[in-house]
């Protein structure tokens, strides 16, 4: 079954001080069901706009977006779950209550409790269930946000640079956890980042955005977990960088 995310000629234009900003222009993409796609690009390339359109937080100015349906027919359940750049946890709720936040009113109490327990176990948060968001680390907070999204079992999981604010070691660990979550859930994952190494480590395919258009689209034919320092990643990294900066990336100083 080829059901997945399909964008056809999608454009998004924001009015700005008498003029306009073209965040996305005539974007057409197909992301197969169960795939892990990474959208890569510089700041202002349209990555976050793409996610907001897919999450239904904004409407495209032009074009059409079709998303996979949810299974189980849970009435109000959205097809996509979005993990934001910051965890955005409810400060008045504990870790456990934050994970359960998306389930209230949708599932029976017993089913919701079982789902939350499963999420806490999956994300290693069982010992912190009673902690409030300001009592846990940034990495753990982002895991709670991931749990809140996965708990309601969306068909598509969107992630907007969820690891961007974390330190190198936490980021590496969570990258591994996200890859493992994708493997275990089999859901369609779409992650937005500006980190080339992260894109190479996680994506089945990488979509490079530049100035609101697709600059390149490449598959990563390497199984996870990946060590991106290995020689087979060199041509892939070069191709990605060329797509972003036309091969003229600045030297490190």
């Amino acid at each position: 079954m080829a059901e997945g995310i399909r964008l056809q000629g999608v454009s998004k234009i924001y009015p700005l001080a008498g003029g306009e900003v073209r965040a996305l222009e005539d974007l057409s993409l197909f992301l197969p069901r169960g795939s892990f796609t990474v959208v890569l690009g510089r700041s202002g390339s349209g990555k976050t706009t793409l996610l907001r359109l897919l999450a239904g937080l904004e409407e495209p100015t032009k074009g059409r977006i079709s998303l996979p349906r949810n299974e189980g027919g849970e009435g109000k359940k959205p097809a996509v779950g979005l993990v934001f750049q910051e965890p955005r946890l409810m400060p008045w709720l504990t870790v456990e209550e934050n994970v359960a936040f998306s389930l209230k009113g949708r599932l029976g109490k017993e089913e919701a409790t079982a789902r939350v327990e499963a999420m806490l176990a999956l994300l290693g948060l069982e010992d912190f269930r009673s902690a409030y968001p300001d009592q846990i680390s940034g990495g753990m907070a982002q895991r709670v946000a991931l749990g809140r999204t996965l708990a309601f079992d969306p068909a598509v999981v969107l992630m907007d640079e969820p690891l961007g604010a974390l330190d190198y070691f936490t980021r590496r660990r969570l990258q591994g956890e996200i890859a493992e979550l994708h493997r275990r859930t089999g859901k369609t994952f779409l992650l937005v980042t500006h980190d080339v190494e992260e894109a190479l480590a996680l994506g089945d395919s990488i979509v490079v955005l530049e100035a609101g258009r697709v600059a390149d689209c490449l598959d990563i034919p390497v199984s996870r977990p990946r060590e991106t320092g290995r020689p087979e990643f060199l041509p892939l990294r070069r191709r990605v960088l060329e797509a972003i900066v036309g091969g003229e990336h600045p030297p490190l100083s």
Binding site: M90, P91, F128
Partner: protein
């Protein structure tokens, strides 16, 4: 426990005294230091005859008066009358100020419609309106209730408005991304997010209500603690005046403490400091 980056001291109520107090574990007992010193000085000054008992009666005379007023039930009758007025006025105030604060917080454009009127009313002391309120509502309960409503409306309204308008819009967006309806977003995100601010407004309003009520009862009442003071003044019974003042202070502190405990129970994630409270 790894990951627990902040202590839970504020939940337990431990206060940071900056090392000034020699034995912080005594906690609440330190707060009795100044009242006890004041009582001792008051007792000593009275015993030595440093001032006339007419100007400030001795603690013993005040204690006798308190006993007599309590035993006859007169003190409780006046306390009950004042408390009932506050309950009415404060409830009415909350029923109007809270929805209006929410409405203007959610629809800032409406603020332009209400802003000049509210700013005008905010700067008029409620007691200045009392003569007009007596003309409109008579000398009965309505005019005193109106004074309490006017005194408590703005702390509740302004803090509700502040809480709603400062609610993190990113949290609201989380609700949208999870498919919550507008009503659900209000109930499950906006309301709890603004609750600490609303509770602060309610606490302030409750404090203001006592001040305004006593003023109103001093001018136009036949019962209540303000009336008790007014009556004692006419009869030159200064010990009764002191009893009424102490009753007001104790009632105010008691209601504030109860409210503070309720607030901490309703919003345990938030430090409800301020208002002179260290914990």
């Amino acid at each position: 426990m790894a990951g627990m980056e902040k202590s839970q001291d504020w939940i337990k109520g431990a206060a940071d005294d900056g090392g000034l107090l020699p034995c912080p574990s005594l906690g609440f007992a330190w707060g009795l230091l100044f009242p006890l010193v004041a009582l001792f000085l008051w007792w000593g000054g009275s015993a030595l005859g440093l001032w006339s008992p007419f100007l400030l009666p001795s603690p013993a005379a005040v204690g006798r008066a308190a006993w007599r007023l309590s035993a006859s039930g007169e003190l409780f009758r006046h306390v009950g009358a004042s408390a009932l007025r506050i309950a009415w006025g404060f409830s009415l105030s909350c029923l109007t100020a809270f929805p209006l604060g929410v409405l203007l917080g959610l629809r800032p454009g409406l603020g332009r419609l209400f802003h000049p009127t509210l700013e005008f009313l905010r700067h008029v002391p409620p007691l200045a309106l009392l003569p007009m309120l007596i003309l409109w509502f008579g000398i009965g309960e309505a005019s005193k209730t109106a004074v309490i409503v006017l005194a408590t409306f703005f702390p509740v309204f302004l803090n509700t408005l502040d809480g709603v308008s400062r609610c993190d819009r990113k949290l609201i967006e989380v609700g949208r991304s999870l498919g919550l309806s507008e009503g659900e977003r209000f109930r499950r995100i906006l309301f709890p997010a603004s609750l600490p601010s609303v509770l602060t407004g309610l606490r302030l309003g409750l404090g203001y209500s006592w001040r305004a009520l006593i003023g109103a009862e001093l001018i136009a009442a036949s019962s209540g603690l303000g009336y008790l003071i007014h009556d004692a003044q006419a009869l030159s019974r200064s010990e009764v005046i002191v009893v009424a003042i102490l009753a007001m202070g104790l009632l105010g502190a008691l209601t504030d403490e109860l409210f503070f405990r309720l607030a901490r129970r309703l919003a345990p994630w938030k430090e409800l400091h301020g208002l002179g409270r260290g914990n």
